[in-house]
C-alpha cells in the first residue's frame, strides 16, 4: 500500500492530482475504514459498514501541502518511491440513486482544506452525472461546514 496507489482504478489525472474510483463491494475494508475516518469530520453520515452499494472517488495529491513527514524509514540508497500520493479527500456516490443524487457525502480532510480542492471533487461529480445524462445534484441534507471544503 505504501508503494502502490490506492485500490481501484485511476480515472482522472491533472496537475499533481488524481481521482481514483473505488468500488465499495470490492475494496470493502478500505471503504469502511475511509468512512469511519471521514465520520470524524462529518456531522451527518450514516453509511459505515454497508458500503457495497457505494462508489468512492478519492482525490489523491501527488505533492500535497502540508506533506506528511516522518513516517518513512530512511532509505540508504536514497531511492525515491515509485509512487507518491496522499489521499486528501473523497466523495461517495450511490451506485443506483433513485433521487438522481450525484453525490452522497464529500469531504476534504482538514489539513488540506481551504485550498479549493472541493471544487475538483464537485466538478468531477457534476461532470460524471452529465456524462450519464442524469440531471441531479448532491443530497440535500448537508452538514454544517460546507464552506470549509
Amino acid at each position: 500500500m505504501r508503494t502502490t496507489p490506492p485500490p481501484g482504478t485511476r480515472i482522472y489525472t491533472k496537475d499533481n492530482y488524481s481521482l481514483y474510483e473505488i468500488d465499495g463491494e470490492i475494496d470493502k475494508l478500505y471503504a469502511q475504514n475511509l468512512s469511519l475516518f471521514a465520520k470524524l469530520f462529518l456531522d451527518t453520515k450514516s453509511v459505515f459498514y454497508d458500503v457495497t452499494t457505494f462508489l468512492y472517488y478519492l482525490l489523491v495529491a501527488h505533492d500535497p501541502s502540508p506533506n506528511i513527514p516522518n513516517t518513512t524509514l530512511s532509505n540508504e540508497d536514497g531511492a525515491q518511491d515509485a509512487y507518491a500520493g496522499q489521499v486528501v479527500g473523497f466523495f461517495s456516490k450511490e451506485k443506483m440513486s433513485w433521487d438522481n443524487n450525484n453525490l452522497a457525502c464529500i469531504l476534504v480532510f482538514p489539513p488540506w482544506q481551504k485550498q479549493g480542492l472541493g471544487q475538483i471533487l464537485m466538478g468531477a461529480s457534476y461532470e460524471m452525472s452529465r456524462r450519464e445524462s442524469r440531471l441531479g445534484g448532491p443530497e440535500k441534507r448537508t452538514s454544517f461546514p460546507v464552506v470549509s471544503l
Binding site: L40, D43, P66, K114, P145, S148
Partner: protein, 176 residues
C-alpha cells in the same frame, strides 16, 4: 367572434400572437432553457433573485470562493491543532467531568454529542476531530484519547506500537 359550446365567447385579439396566450406560455416555459435545473447555484446566490444565470458558464473561480471565510464548527478548537510533527506536547484534553455532565443533562440523546476520539493522528499529522465517529468499541473502546490512522490504507489503531508495526510492515512489504 368565436363561440364555444359553453356559451362563453372568445374575443379575437389580432395583434397578439399565440405566445401571449397564458396557456401557451405555460407550455413554452417547459422548453425554456432558462428553466432547466439548477436555476440557482447551490454554492453561491447566483440566480437567486431572478437575474440571468447560466449554469454552464457559471464558475467559482473568484477569490471569494477560493478563500472562503473560515467557519469553525462549535466545539472545534482553533486550527492550530494541526501540527506537522508527531511527538508534540499533548494538547489540553477537554475535561471528562464536564462532558459527562453535559451528556447526563440531556438523557434523551443517545449519541454522545462531543467527539469520542479526542485526537486522531493521520500519518504524522495531529488532527482534532469535529464529530463523533462509530469505530467499533471492541477495538478502540468507548472513548479513546488518541487514535492512529494509517495515511495509506486508513487502518486504525489505538496503540502506538501497533501503528508503528503496521507502518513497518508496509515498509517491508509484508502482507498484513
Amino acid at each position: 367572434m368565436a363561440s364555444l359550446e359553453s356559451g362563453r365567447t372568445l374575443k379575437a385579439r389580432p395583434f397578439e400572437s399565440l405566445t401571449h396566450n397564458p396557456a401557451f406560455n405555460r407550455i413554452d416555459n417547459l422548453f425554456n432553457p432558462m428553466n432547466k435545473f439548477p436555476q440557482k447555484c447551490w454554492m453561491c446566490h447566483a440566480g437567486a433573485n431572478k437575474k440571468s444565470f447560466y449554469p454552464d458558464s457559471h464558475r467559482h473561480v473568484t477569490a471569494r470562493h477560493a478563500n472562503p471565510p473560515p467557519i469553525i464548527p462549535p466545539h472545534v478548537l482553533p486550527r492550530a491543532a494541526h501540527s506537522s510533527v508527531l511527538p508534540t506536547a499533548p494538547l489540553m484534553a477537554p475535561d471528562v467531568a464536564t462532558t459527562n455532565g453535559a451528556s447526563t443533562a440531556k438523557p434523551s440523546q443517545k449519541l454522545p454529542t462531543g467527539p469520542n476520539v479526542l485526537e486522531v493522528v493521520l500519518g504524522s499529522l495531529l488532527i482534532k476531530p469535529w464529530y463523533p465517529s462509530f469505530y467499533p468499541e471492541e477495538l478502540v473502546g468507548r472513548r479513546v484519547e488518541r487514535l492512529y490512522v494509517c495515511q495509506w490504507c486508513f487502518r486504525y489503531s489505538k496503540e502506538l506500537a501497533g501503528f508503528l508495526g503496521h507502518l513497518v510492515s508496509l515498509w517491508s512489504n509484508i502482507a498484513v
